[in-house]
Subunit: 191 residues, 2 copies
Amino acid sequence: MAPSILRQSLAKIGDLSDEEWALLKGTATPKEFKRGERLLNEGDICRAYFFVEKGYLRTYYNKDGVEINLQFSFEGDFTTNFKSLKNEKPSHFIIEAGEKSRVWIFDREKMKPLYFEKEAIGLLLRRLAMQLLLSSEEYSNLYKISTPTQRYEYIERHKPHLLQRLSLSQLSSYLGVTRETLSRIRSASAR
Amino acid sequence: MAPSILRQSLAKIGDLSDEEWALLKGTATPKEFKRGERLLNEGDICRAYFFVEKGYLRTYYNKDGVEINLQFSFEGDFTTNFKSLKNEKPSHFIIEAGEKSRVWIFDREKMKPLYFEKEAIGLLLRRLAMQLLLSSEEYSNLYKISTPTQRYEYIERHKPHLLQRLSLSQLSSYLGVTRETLSRIRSASAR
DNA sequence: ATAATTTTGTGACGAACTTCACAAGGTGAT
DNA sequence: ATCACCTTGTGAAGTTCGTCACAAAATTAT
């Protein structure tokens, strides 16, 4: 049988024996979400890692009624809200399905014993956490260091799938500009 | 004998026995840096965590000849460049002393065996990494979500020591504005 | 297919920030 | 105390981006 996209994605992070893989998988539940359905609500405590098998997830913040996108997670990606997960504090962010999506929900409480009992699982989870945090740091530096136009060019070069899968409006708040400005950046760069 | 500021700071992150503490301390070397001396140079691979005993460190990026501050680390703080440390890739950032400083340099290679042999040390180091990355995430969200004036107010409320220890020019690039703009924000907020 | 709804493009205008220039105020060295 | 150097304050002009308004295009529902 062909390995699942889930197992493939995990294999990129660390090696697990068949037994360990079965144990880890046992902590997760697959679930379907319709476009707009929420995996994490503002004010709730985040208790899981999410793995996207199909579709995509959108992490956003509600600023005076305007949604500001902080992250998009596509097929093969993991995501969560670390600050809420680690500190067991209410989340300021919302995670919802950007389109009809199939997601594996890794329950933190179920994973906890494995974390200590199985060295390889603990190592893999730590690496996963590190990867997620590092990519968030990278995004934050992009944000700080460059102008809106440069940010758009960065996306064109390094994350072109974002341009294909997201509407201009969704992308604009991720880049920190209005949709009008992004529209103008795009029409200027077409020349 | 009174516990050192180093041991006090570590105690806030996790518990270590006297033996573990001695082992961990053995991986570190204290060093003095004059104002402007560099702990990490652009293009070099970061191989250590830095603990500030006295003075402060400045992490910045050189953008077309203009320095952009990304982080300040004061007495009792740890810092490093994670991306470079973890991936063993050349650093894009520079870490240097903002004033005459005394720093403990925790060598990554020396720490590595302890990480696996001593459970408590591994746990503490993971927590430390998590804290550093979460604070960087928090800063990035501040940056994204608010206007320059709001960012300044955030600093006033949550990190007033920055206002006392840093020059206006240093702070301005950290807030993502020119020094002129920060000067104007400040004179407006004085009323 | 057609209508309704949502998304995108574009112009006009204003606000916020940058750039440039220079004066004033501090700080350190001799 | 004086000079040199560095930092801060402030005005004027220019840019960029946001806001508002509306038309065009695309998508979805019926």
